[in-house]
């Protein structure tokens, strides 16, 4: 394509190698001024790498970049900022114990004499931008005290404060509620009418349809196509992204729930700061049933899981598995009562990264007579067990039982955890954000596993921030807000908007008035 001032950015023939791995192979991207341009691809397709090159975090091995029709050398984020490029990273780049203002001005401070920061002036400047684009946020709040949606606004403000004309948003909706997503799309529109250009990186098809004008699809380091969004439907986009036709809906038979085996009554849990994060929460799960908990991050999901697994004390209330109370005992006791948990933070809570796959596979049962005799671990049994899991769950690379789990891909690490937890033959299987950061194929696999375990008669508790996941997999949907389950329905009885409203603290009988 020709270089022209009509375009805010043109990237031509971009190639990037990591060692011998080719992350990008002659990729092209042309973004028209004043448009919202989506870059679609699976995890690992290379879309983040492409944007990191545009933002100067990586250098391309070959290819050219033109900004407003002029060739640009982007050596580091500073030159990118100088060219009016701003980036909102998927994992927010915010200093937790700094205020909003401090985060925004960092590296570009308003100073008086002797380098003293003029906080007052900085605040005024920020409030000016806040008002112009309708980005409500308290400039004096600390980052650790504000919601994820707010944090994202801070990131956008950071870019605008630096005079960005082109904003790159990397997976901006991953952690937002449907309402927050709508707000974000509105903000994007107001930015466009203020003369900005936006590139949005995502693998979510619905949002592309809702927000973008043009979409470029990247697959395994190649640019596949660039299409006007109005001309294609979601299925077509998905096919281009994955390379073959995909089913977007999980296939499952209707649930055949049995007796209630897991029950929480009036549970109250305090968080690290001593505030009640879970309040009077009650729920029940039957055999053969998947209960999905939908909710915005920070509404007590973390504390709920910590209380069930006895990492945190419950202030009051009971947690019963098969009629036995397990609250305020030990993690060991919970495991012994046949509760298995796939934790959302697989690298922090789920795995010991320097341990081998085999060592990780037995972390809950190394003390059992199967693996330990007279205090010594039977290593051949341990590796044998791991080998079976690797085969049964198709963990790759095959024969990795003696390799450190650190070397496995994210999807395979997750498989190790799933295999291990299911091998405990639990009565209750808890899955928290089980598909976070996994690509489409792996997501499908995890969902299939959850359904399989349900069909094997286990109770499954699925907690996810992705509403689509809950809608697709759960048999019963509970909505958590401010530490309580505010409503629950059988799957299929209510639509996504209603649930989204409940997640944001709305009430059912006000649905009609508030959703407008």
């Amino acid at each position: 394509m020709e270089v022209s001032t009509e375009y805010a950015v043109q990237m031509h023939g971009i190639t990037k190698l990591f060692g011998s791995f080719c992350a990008l192979d002659h990729v092209d991207l042309d973004v028209k001024k004043g448009s919202i341009h989506a870059v679609l691809g699976e995890n690992g397709a290379g879309k983040s790498t492409l944007m990191n090159i545009l933002y100067g975090l990586y250098q391309a091995d070959s290819g050219e970049i033109y900004i407003n029709g002029k060739k640009a050398e982007i050596k580091n984020p500073n030159t990118a900022i100088g060219h009016g490029i701003g980036m909102v990273h998927q994992h927010f780049m915010l200093v937790d114990n700094f205020t909003v203002t401090q985060n925004i001005i960092l590296g570009n401070e308003v100073t008086g004499k002797f380098g003293i920061i003029d906080t007052k002036k900085a605040r005024e400047e920020i409030i000016g931008i806040v008002k112009k684009y309708g980005l409500e946020v308290d400039p004096d709040a600390k980052i650790e005290d504000i919601s994820v949606g707010m944090q994202q606004r801070v990131e956008i403000l950071k870019a605008l404060y630096r005079g960005a004309d082109l904003l790159i948003l990397d997976e901006p909706t991953a952690v937002l509620t449907p309402q927050e997503i709508e707000e974000l799309i509105e903000i994007m529109r107001s930015l466009i009418s203020g003369g900005k250009t936006i590139i949005i990186i995502t693998h979510k098809l619905k949002e592309i349809k809702a927000s973008s004008d043009v979409c470029t699809i990247i697959r395994r380091g190649h640019s596949i196509d660039t299409v006007p969004v109005a001309d294609v439907d979601e299925e077509q986009l998905a096919t281009m992204m994955v390379g073959h036709a995909v089913k977007l809906v999980v296939e499952k038979a209707p649930a055949k729930p049995g007796d209630v085996i897991f029950e929480i009554e009036n549970l109250t849990v305090k968080n690290e700061r001593g505030l009640e994060a879970v309040r009077n929460l009650s729920l029940k799960i039957r055999r053969g049933e998947i209960l999905g908990i939908a909710g915005i991050d920070g509404n007590g999901q973390k504390e709920l899981v910590e209380a069930i697994t006895c990492l945190t004390r419950a202030q009051s209330g009971t947690i019963k598995i098969n009629g036995v109370e397990i609250q305020n005992t030990t993690p060991r006791n919970v495991i012994d009562h046949k509760v298995s948990t796939i934790h959302e933070d697989r690298q922090r809570r789920g795995l010991v990264l320097p341990f081998t796959v085999a060592e990780n596979a037995v972390i809950e049962k190394y003390r059992t007579p199967e693996f330990t005799r007279r205090g010594m671990i039977d290593r051949s049994r341990m590796t044998g067990f791991a080998r079976r899991l690797i085969e049964d769950y198709d963990i790759r690379p095959a024969g990795c039982e003696s390799q450190p789990v650190r070397g496995l891909s994210g999807g395979n690490q997750q498989k190790v955890i799933i295999a291990r937890e299911i091998s405990n033959e639990p009565e209750l299987l808890i899955a928290v954000q089980p598909t976070r950061g996994l690509d489409v194929g792996a997501v499908e696999y995890v969902h299939k596993m959850l359904v399989r375990e349900r069909d094997a008669g286990r109770a499954v508790l699925l907690i996810s921030l992705e509403l689509d996941e809950i809608m697709n997999v759960a048999d019963t949907i509970g909505v958590i807000y401010a530490g309580s389950i505010v409503a629950s329905f059988p799957q299929g009885k209510v639509d996504e908007n209603t649930i989204g409203l409940l997640m944001a603290g709305g009430r059912l009988n006000e649905t009609g008035s508030e959703s407008t």
Partner: protein
């Protein structure tokens, strides 16, 4: 290229490179200060290998630092930084003296009791650190540093106290000879013993001129035991899981606090054992007033680092260290260069150990580049 990469990937390669750099830097410093490095290193090696008794003394010198090295290495493997081996060593020596001076049983009983007393002394110090970390979350480095000093003054207190102080000296009474762990301490100085040893000049020199003792064998045995404990036992699995990832271990039902305390107890016991064996195994079999630390524990830190925290590696690193420390004395005697050149050398080795952690990474890159060319 591939072979080079493969060799460089082995941990031992990094260590050897670090040792080489230690010598190079020492040589540069010596030249700059006007000494002949060849001569100096000659004196060093002469001081290590020239006579059987030198070699014996190197091993004796290495014994305590192998054990304190093991203590530090073990703690590293369980995610703890045991900067307190120094204090635990002192506690072990003090406890051994406390019991060994007062008690006089037949050697079969006396030796185990005195050594166990030392082990318990070190264990107590280690336990305090572990308990305070597990119960109150106090950083082990702070408590360890404080306990090092408390140990030093405790030792001086015992030296000065009535029933232990040997008049007209700056030390305690020695422990009773029934506590000695030298090889045949009575026989070798008896007439029969001397007569039997006389024909074997080598043996005669080693036996009579140095304190050949069982400590080194114990140290080697402990290295093997610690290796087995860490990598083969269920307890070791737990300790390492807690060390690598406390959160995951906790989540999997492992009692984190208990393992932190246990790890410090074991680490303390090893350093205490080092202190006890130094009392029972080598002259003067007593403790003296300390003006500053003797560095038996701090040297253990360097040993553990050079060994890459491998229990077996500690044996060799300890011997290297013992050699440098003992042979280093000859550098000053023979060449006149300050013995501190040895400290500079050891420091440089440790410094390059820190740097050479990246050697395997470089090797991997080298390998990948090679692979890239093939494609």
């Amino acid at each position: 290229m591939k072979l080079a990469a493969k060799v460089l990937k082995k941990p031992i390669a990094s260590t050897l490179i670090a040792v080489l750099f230690g010598f190079i830097v020492a040589a540069v410093v010596l030249v700059a200060a006007g000494y002949n490095p060849g001569q100096s290193f000659g004196a060093l090696f002469h001081g290590i290998f020239a006579k059987p008794k030198y070699i014996s003394n190197v091993i004796i010198k290495a014994t305590p630092i192998i054990l304190t090295g093991l203590s530090v290495a073990f703690a590293f493997q369980t995610g703890l930084f045991n900067i307190g081996a120094e204090g635990q060593y002192i506690a072990g020596a003090v406890a051994a003296v406390l019991v060994g001076v007062k008690l006089d049983l037949p050697p079969v009983l006396q030796i185990p009791v005195v050594v166990m007393a030392g082990v318990l002394g070190g264990t107590l110090f280690g336990w305090i650190v572990g308990y305070l970390k597990a119960r109150f979350g106090i950083h082990e480095v702070i408590t360890s540093i404080m306990l090092n000093w408390i140990g030093l003054y405790l030792s001086n207190f015992v030296v000065a106290s009535g029933t232990y102080h040997m008049p007209n000296s700056t030390s305690t009474y020695p422990v009773n000879p029934s506590s000695y762990t030298m090889l045949l301490p009575n026989w070798k100085t008896s007439k029969a013993g001397m007569a039997a040893l006389k024909p074997h000049q080598w043996l005669y020199e080693v036996m009579l001129k140095t304190d050949v003792n069982f400590g080194f064998l114990v140290a080697v045995l402990m290295a093997a035991i610690i290796w087995y404990l860490l990598y083969r036992s269920a307890k070791g699995y737990e300790l390492r899981a807690v060390g690598f990832n406390r959160d995951a271990a906790e989540f999997a039902g492992i009692n984190v606090n208990k393992n932190i305390t246990d790890a410090m107890v074991i680490a303390g016991a090893l350093a205490g054992l080092a202190g006890a064996l130094a009392i029972t195994g080598t002259a003067p079999h007593k403790i003296s007033t300390l003006a500053a630390f003797e560095n038996n524990g701090f040297n253990g830190l360097s040993v553990a680092l050079i060994a890459g925290s491998s229990p077996i590696g500690c044996i060799f690193a300890g011997l290297l260290f013992g050699g440098l420390l003992y042979g280093g004395q000859s550098v000053q005697q023979d060449v006149g260069a300050p013995t501190e050149i040895i400290n500079i050398m050891i420091g440089t080795i440790v410094f390059f150990v820190a740097l050479t952690k990246i050697v395997p990474v470089l090797a991997e890159k080298l390998e990948k580049r090679g692979a890239g060319h093939v494609q």
